[in-house]
Symmetry: C2
Subunit: 396 residues, 2 copies
């Protein structure tokens, strides 16, 4: 019989998708170049040529049954070895292949990580503002997502609120730095304080608490900003990664879970993820993409345009009197709206063909997200529209 | 805290994997060519050149952000349209893109289909002998897999046993024709009788019962055998397909669910699957593979070698006095073992470097599976080993 649960979900469309669909419809009316669509977090820089060349080389030279054959259920062993070595060199870790589980993007990684360290009824904590899909990644496993209210001063962690949210049922803390939607990068101080607090709580509760660290924006960092590698600071860490943003290949669905070798059962977690896969449709990512990416590890698309765009937008927002925290990375910025109701604010902006996403979607009403993975010229023209909007609607 | 459920699964390794690992180890001792490994269902014929050429052409000509960009959550619309058209032409159906949901292989398809039409506690029926992963695809959703004992005469459906297994909690029947492990193709008579019975039961129980039809071997059919397209005979059918076997690309994880347009909520099921995806790690298959496969629809690898191999093995088995049903398709055959304990039979065969999988794994003890996706020369040499084995151990 048709599942009512999923049928009912059809009514509740993602607001982000809705804004983006409106933008698409509007583009048909007035031309795509005239819609300032800051709604979707879709990479806007080309895939590195070396990746394309590697794909072609593999197709021309490899035995087809080897190239397109089944990978082991944890992912191709040779690929996992390379990823482990790369992470060790880059972040001073001590992973081996057995700590790595290949997934279909960061979504697949988080979905597996949550199942590996919780059971139905357990609590997973995350911090507003947060990526709304976390609700699904967590709640559909039977665990319960608890939200810590935002530190709207800096979008670091509101530790007093976190302490109130932790309970003996907390089995995992899901973090995302560099952050979607705020663009904030957790400081070393934040990460250390989080690690200390969770160590204390592990002792107090007498069980493990895992950090599930969602890191698809790890390489998109702006001048002078360092992103602490979370797993370096806390043993019970599962790092979830995706190549979607760093290589501009979101459609190819490649990511991984890397379990800290010192985590409880750290050497078993990847194998456990392979067991989890059996029930959720075998998330093994495509063989050719696994092999090609492993050959170009460390290469990224030219990500510098995101910083260029961020500076243009940030400066303009400051000039216009917005309250805004300067992003340390990603391709997002999360200013305070000019009225308390950020949905109303975003709707008014649409009259100027500016497409933003209200902070309500991220558990942080009163703010709005701009995704600036957009051509720089359009960003500039978008700022003109923003000035008109702010002047005409808010007299600023 | 580490999930005990998945940790405990690590102990219970798949027997098929275990046999295959033994074969790998043995190959290191005596050379791969001397191990007659009939354990794994891995395609053994090359990928069609036209697929490789298409992949290279796409990489050389398309905009990289378009080629590797996010696909819609149900799969790339243009691709789904082509798949719908192809199915309509081939099987006389009336699908549109909205009935198609792209998945990571047949595993992803079945995992989504089960969730779409059951809720925890519901029953899903399948027929022995059956693919053992069905236990995971179904039981990890919270539904319960019920097994109908085998019709060992023909490996069609044992309808008396099916009637005993149906209850008001039955929400789906999971079938697999052409069948792994028996190689049997359901006759039109079988399919019609199943459809009639389920129609009756739908009325009697007052709710829908779906057929989830797992069809990865749809194109591997032997001389004179026709495979009825299940969905043509029963409206409430979700057809689950994979290109793993037909194009020899199992590692690229491409498949789909096609919901019969006349099924209850047939036009919503694909969209519901996209909602299901959000909780299990977004199974969207890789963009470039979606696009490339859509360009070569109808093309398959040269699958004729499987029939050649089947005939060699079938004739030999008959000659040696085995009880065996002649396969109508796939690359499997499922003879009766020469002693009641088929695990003991398979272990004895290993002493002759023959690797079979005991029927116990498929819910059908006393039989064994041979996967003949193996070079024909090796099949021939394997038959020599089989003759020696049967003569020396069973005096036949």
């Amino acid at each position: 019989m048709i599942s009512q649960k999923y049928k009912e979900m059809l009514g509740a469309k993602s607001v982000i998708r809705e804004m983006s669909e409106w933008a698409g419809a509007r583009a048909k009316e007035i031309g795509k170049e005239n819609v300032f669509d800051f709604s979707l977090g879709n990479p806007s820089v080309p895939v590195p040529q070396v990746f394309t060349d590697k794909m072609i080389e593999l197709l021309q030279s490899r035995d087809t049954m080897e190239l397109h054959g089944y990978s082991q259920s944890q992912g191709i062993l040779a690929v996992r070895k390379k990823f482990a070595q790369f992470l060790n060199q880059t972040y001073g870790m001590e992973y081996t292949a057995e700590h790595i589980f290949m997934t279909t993007g960061a979504a697949g990684a988080v979905a597996h990580a949550v199942r590996a360290v919780t059971q139905p009824g357990d609590e997973v904590i995350t911090f507003a503002p947060y990526f709304p899909e976390y609700n699904h990644y967590v709640n559909q496993t039977g665990a319960v997502l608890k939200i810590v209210p935002a530190d709207t001063q800096q979008f670091q962690i509101h530790f007093e609120q976190l302490e109130k949210t932790l309970t003996p049922k907390t089995m995992a803390v899901l973090i995302n730095s560099p952050n979607n939607p705020s663009g904030t990068v957790y400081s070393e101080q934040t990460v250390k304080r989080l690690a200390e607090l969770l160590c204390e709580k592990q002792k107090e509760y007498g069980h493990d608490i895992f950090i599930i660290s969602d890191e698809p924006y790890r390489e998109i960092l702006f001048a002078g900003v360092k992103a602490p590698y979370i797993s370096k600071y806390y043993d019970n860490t599962l790092s979830c990664y995706s190549f979607a943003k760093s290589l501009s290949i979101p459609g190819e669905r490649l990511g991984y879970v890397a379990a800290n070798p010192n985590a409880t059962d750290g050497e078993l977690i990847s194998a456990m993820c392979a067991q989890i896969s059996r029930g959720i449709g075998h998330n093994c990512p495509p063989s050719i993409i696994q092999i090609a990416v492993a050959e170009v590890l460390g290469v990224t698309s030219d990500l510098s345009v995101y910083e260029t765009n961020m500076n243009i937008i940030y400066d303009e927002l400051v000039q216009l009197g917005f309250t805004v925290v300067k992003p340390g990375g990603t391709f997002y910025i999360f200013p305070k709206a000019l009225e308390a109701d950020s949905v109303a604010f975003c709707k008014k902006a649409m009259q100027y063909d500016l497409v933003f996403v209200p902070g309500d979607s991220f558990g942080c009403p009163g703010y709005f997200r701009m995704a600036y993975c957009v051509e720089t010229d359009k960003v500039r023209r978008g700022m003109e529209a923003l000035r008109r909007f702010v002047k005409e609607v808010y007299n600023k």
